[in-house]
């Protein structure tokens, strides 16, 4: 597991700095007195920073008064937490049963080819992270791909370029965070 933070400079993101630690302090202060706060704290920090750098985890452990091993144990246990910076957009391919029998493995192949990354990685330019999720609960529309909050239904491998093209500009996020089904 990559715990160092040096790779983030290459990703065009700021290294761990005082601001990040300040975020950690704020979140810890908000939840410190609640019972069993660790997961909630990690959630909120990840939402605000995009990932969980090692230095921040140390700060969380100190702030909550728990061993770093407990914090690290939780972070590495849950699939949602990331120790590495993510791309600006996260592409999630659903690999639930319904999507699988309707061919989501072919969509992953196509994405890996087009983006030149493997599942779990981020493109060189830091634009897309590709991941696999277990069922987004839209089984009636299988196979499903989500990009950030946009949901694409009944995706075919040939339809992938059209989806990726929507994220060409940087102001392209749809206003309500939703997208239309892409039929090809």
């Amino acid at each position: 597991m990559e715990l160092s933070s040096c790779s983030c400079r290459a990703m065009g993101q700021a290294a761990v700095d005082e601001d990040m630690l300040k975020v950690a302090d704020e979140v810890v202060a908000k939840y410190r007195d609640k019972p069993g706060p660790l997961i909630q704290v990690l959630h909120e920090i990840q939402v605000r920073l995009g990932y969980l750098p090692r230095e921040v985890l140390v700060r969380v452990a100190e702030g909550l008064g728990v061993p770093l091993s407990d914090v690290s144990g939780a972070v590495t246990f849950y699939g949602l937490f990331s120790l590495k910076p993510k791309g600006r957009h996260t592409i999630s391919v659903c690999m639930g049963t319904a999507c699988y029998v309707r061919g989501s493995d072919r969509i992953i192949e196509r994405l890996e080819k087009d983006l030149k990354v493997k599942v779990g990685d981020t493109t060189q330019d830091g634009k897309f992270s590709l991941q696999v999720v277990r069922c987004v609960g839209a089984c009636g529309l299988a196979p499903v791909v989500t990009v950030d909050n946009d949901v694409y239904a009944r995706v075919k491998p040939e339809g992938i370029p059209a989806i990726l093209n929507r994220y060409d500009g940087e102001a392209e996020r749809t206003q309500d965070g939703r997208a239309r089904a892409v039929h090809s």
Binding site: G36, Y78, T97, V101, G137, C139
Partner: protein, 595 residues
């Protein structure tokens, strides 16, 4: 109160949201304004109505006409024709297989065969309006229970109903309540398990998104019955819309005094907090879920002690699933006996199933227990599309198994499913046709369980991995004689020795497919052939010389240069080089490439 002559319900479930229901709703509102109908027609965004493949869909009342697969343009036509002139727009209504239009929702077999108890409000009311919930007798059951002030009577009623846990285990709900109520120790906690991780199941999501108050009301009732004042809803992080609607509902309930302190002036305090999961399937297991709420790694622990005696922070804790809770208010209002009159002998009431996969009508259906799979798949689901043949129904997700065609007439209840080597699970029902390879499906589920195994106990951590390796061997043509027996033996041992429900049920998909589709496994092992033509390593691509026109499209598409041939001459595939990626099949416009 403003009176409207017509109501337009716009389905706002996750499926319809991704199909574009927002734009349809906007177009409706715009059209109504243009035609000066905004004061006469009310547009309501509801939760999931069920038939996801028809989305975006709307229902126009009082007639109850369902329009499907709408666009903003077709929505405007509905305003101009139906709402302004009172004429049904025939080309937008549902059609049966032989294209007969069926405009009225209640006459569509997808709906007419259902009995909706848990989904009674889903798709009918605005989930973000507590008033609409109250108008449908919402919080009446809670009021009655608190007014009577007898926790034991509540438990007796739930026991009488015969309700069993809808999350998969099927444990009698009333007994669980009784155990928690009698357990010594204070304070007691209440937990709603909304960590719906089974791939292929989305009923809990739809209930939380479409009728969140029904869960809150049931939690308050359960809290009163067992003596708990604090409840938690543990929701998956993958369900952001459910989290949002539930948060809105909790706010409203606190404002209206149906949550909080001194509810209905009876002195009973109860509040609910949301805890969001972090992407671990095992957290659906109750002891792992409790560990996760406590902020730890979501690892299960041995039972007993059961959560009813030692749960959250070591205190007595009642854990029920979302769908189980959604059944509670109707049981209180209608009486346990009336609930028990629905369903099968040992499985009372209804069950919500999520229909998906190779089936014509996908979506959510709620049916009485004891109905046959055939009725669900053919009468409600409309059968298998594209003229294909039904092969198997996968029920219960990674914990369940596959049911073959000869068992289609078995009633769907807890006991029958267990006899078939599967389980009801949370109600995911994925239909597979002849193009699905059962060995590949078994491998898919075992891979899922391998990924999601928490690693605490050896049978699950190591045993499931070994099963996966054996299946990988079989699907890549390396299968050996004795592999099937090995899988059966190992599977049985894992079932007997794993720590929690995840491990104990992980072998089910493999064992049930070996049981019913042994020949298909044997074809992989002995003949090195995949009859469904799915397992890539066992396929061979060929170009039909008499169909190929020599356009060269496949040659261009092939990433490894395995296709040879002159222009306008039939091409050929060099199977020694071919990686079986299938790119040529997609590129060919003449269907000249077969496998």
């Amino acid at each position: 109160m403003q009176q409207y002559r017509a109501h337009v319900l716009v389905c706002g479930g996750t499926g319809c949201v991704s199909s574009g229901c927002h734009a349809v709703k906007e177009a409706l509102l715009e059209g109504l304004k243009t035609h000066d109908l905004a004061d006469e027609v009310l547009v309501v965004k509801t939760g999931c109505m069920g038939p996801c493949d028809m989305g975006p869909l709307i229902v126009v009342y009082p007639e109850g006409v369902l329009y499907r697969q709408l666009t903003p343009e077709s929505a405007l036509r509905i305003v101009e024709e139906h709402l302004l002139k009172g004429r049904v727009v025939e080309d937008l209504v549902y059609r049966t297989e032989n294209l007969k239009p069926v405009p009225v929702l209640e006459e569509i077999s997808f709906f007419s065969r259902q009995t909706r108890i848990a989904l009674r409000n889903t798709g009918l009311i605005d989930p973000e309006s507590i008033e609409e919930y109250i108008a449908r007798d919402g919080y009446l059951a809670l009021a009655r229970v608190l007014q009577q002030g007898d926790p034991e009577a509540v438990i007796a009623e739930v026991k009488k109903s015969g309700l069993r846990g809808r999350g998969g285990g099927g444990f009698p709900t009333g007994l669980k309540w009784e155990f928690t109520a009698r357990a010594p120790g204070q304070p007691k906690y209440l937990v709603c398990n909304a960590d719906e991780g089974d791939p292929g199941a989305f009923m809990d999501r739809s209930i939380l998104e479409g009728d969140p108050h029904s869960v809150l009301e049931a939690m308050a009732i359960a809290g009163f019955a067992v003596g708990a004042n604090q409840g938690y809803v543990y929701v998956r992080a993958e369900y952001p819309l459910a989290v949002q609607r539930l948060s809105v509902a909790i706010e409203q309930a606190r404002r209206y005094g149906t949550l909080g302190s001194n509810i209905f002036g009876t002195g009973f305090d109860f509040d609910v907090e949301i805890r969001v999961g972090a992407g671990a399937f095992v957290c659906g297991e109750e002891t792992a879920l409790l560990a996760s709420i406590e902020g730890k790694r979501g690892e299960p622990r041995p039972r007993p002690p059961f959560p009813a005696t030692e749960g959250l922070w070591g205190k007595p804790t009642l854990i029920n699933n979302v769908e189980t809770f959604a059944n509670i208010p109707p049981i209180i209002l209608g009486g346990g006996e009336s609930f028990a009159s629905i369903g099968a002998e040992k499985s009372k009431g209804t069950k919500v199933f999520a229909l998906a996969g190779k089936i014509r009508n996908t979506g959510l259906v709620e049916v009485p227990m004891g109905i046959t799979l055939r009725e669900i798949i053919y009468d409600i689901g409309g059968g298998i599309p594209d003229g294909k043949k039904f092969k198997a129904a996968q029920i219960g997700g990674p914990s369940g198994g596959c049911i073959p065609a000869p068992c289609l007439d078995v009633p769907v209840d807890y006991e029958s499913m267990a006899e078939l080597g599967t389980m009801m699970g949370s109600g995911g029902l994925v239909i597979m046709d002849e193009d699905t390879c059962m060995v590949d499906v078994a491998k898919f589920f075992i891979e899922f369980c391998k990924d999601e195994s928490c690693g605490k106990c050896a049978p699950c951590r190591i045993g499931v991995k070994r099963m996966l390796e054996t299946l990988e061997r079989i699907t890549t043509g390396e299968g050996r004689e004795g592999d099937l027996e090995l899988l059966e033996e190992l599977g049985q041992q894992i079932k007997d020795s794993a720590l929690c429900g995840l491990g104990q049920t992980a072998p089910n998909p493999v064992l049930s497919t070996i049981r019913y589709f042994r020949e298909e496994y044997e074809a992989h092992v002995r003949d090195k052939c995949c009859p469904a033509k799915v397992c890539k390593a066992l396929l061979e691509y060929r170009i039909l010389a008499d169909v190929c026109v020599g356009c060269g499209a496949c040659k261009k598409a092939c990433p490894v240069g395995a296709i040879m041939g002159e222009r306008r001459q039939p091409h050929e595939i060099n199977t020694a080089v071919c990686t079986r990626c299938g790119a040529c099949v997609e590129a060919c416009r003449f269907d000249a490439i077969v496998r």
